[in-house]
Assembly symmetry: C2
Homo-oligomer: 194 residues x 2
């Protein structure tokens, strides 16, 4: 099966390719610009992106939207995770802002969860959607060089204390929000996808 990838983020694209084995992932057509993420939910933004690309390309498109919900910050950065420190924020800027806002908050109070909504849209309006969540907490300082985004400060629950950035891609995929969302998506797409 062939799916057009609605994301232009190379880190996300690489992870998604690993999570959809056997799928021919096509890059987003150049004539489809960046889709503004104007919705206030992950599902809304994933749908916006997948639908825009599916309609422009005339074939099914896959998108994900991921948020980080930190309990001590009332659920922030949430859906705005990728733009937390501003529109052109780097991963390091976002992490620095998060750690700054949590300064003085004890490790036991830094509970958080990553959440991904993965969605495939067809030009005719059909769609398949799936959620994936991983619980954990925000580390006191960044650790590790793997992954991207907030991975250096996210410690999944039930693990050995390593951050996502200290794990291999396979270790992260086995427990991560994105790994779980795409496993469910793949399953619900049926055998046509594998």
């Amino acid at each position: 099966m062939r799916l057009v990838l609605a994301t232009a983020n190379p880190h996300k694209a690489r992870e998604i390719a690993g999570l959809l084995p056997g799928v021919d992932l096509a890059p987003r057509p150049a004539e489809v610009g960046e889709v503004d993420e104007t919705e206030d939910t992950l599902e809304g933004n994933a749908r916006l992106k997948a639908r825009a690309v599916a309609e422009a390309a005339g074939e099914p498109a896959v998108a994900d939207d991921t948020g980080l919900e930190v309990d001590a910050l009332g659920g922030r950065p949430g859906v705005l995770a990728a733009r937390y420190a501003g529109e052109d924020a780097t991963y390091a800027d976002n992490v620095a802002k998060l750690l700054d806002e949590l300064s003085g908050v004890a490790e036991a109070e830094r509970t958080a969860r990553f959440r991904t909504v993965a969605l495939v849209a067809w030009p005719d309006g059909r769609e398949v959607v799936a959620d994936g969540v991983v619980e954990g907490h925000i580390a006191l300082a960044p650790r590790g060089d793997g992954g991207f985004g907030y991975d250096p400060v996210f410690v999944p629950a039930g693990g050995d204390g390593r951050t996502f950035a200290e794990m291999t891609g396979e270790e992260k995929a086995a427990v991560s929000h994105r790994g779980r969302a795409f496993a469910a998506l793949r399953c619900e797409m049926g055998t046509g996808l594998t």
Copy 2:
């Protein structure tokens, strides 16, 4: 396929039965008492319940744990949703406490999400787990007689403004956290389940 249901809540049991068509759901063995939900994550509690029942019954068991995360309350009641107003709280007590804590908060600021983790555990340690989420907001006052728990005050996003308690069971299942989690669970269990 036969699964032992780890919940004794009759409302949940009825919903789960509807979401697992073709599965022979057996009641929890009488000798397994109420399992204390001592974990601080939905997944941890779902695993506790399913595993305790699977081990006692010697056959696979299914559990879910559901939370309500209200952004204006820093993610509360979260995993404690069912016991928000105390150990012996009724649904009405919990709803009253939630509305009281949100008094003065405008409708646009009352964003919230229901989240279910559904989990099947086998006596040999195997498990399948899936997430389901629905975004929405907390209504200013309860509406409707259907559903249970916080359904009279939860308005799912993307709908026509009705609360879950104003929908039929089928309408709720099509968009709900529990409906989505069990759809993914069913799929990931493979054809043995249907």
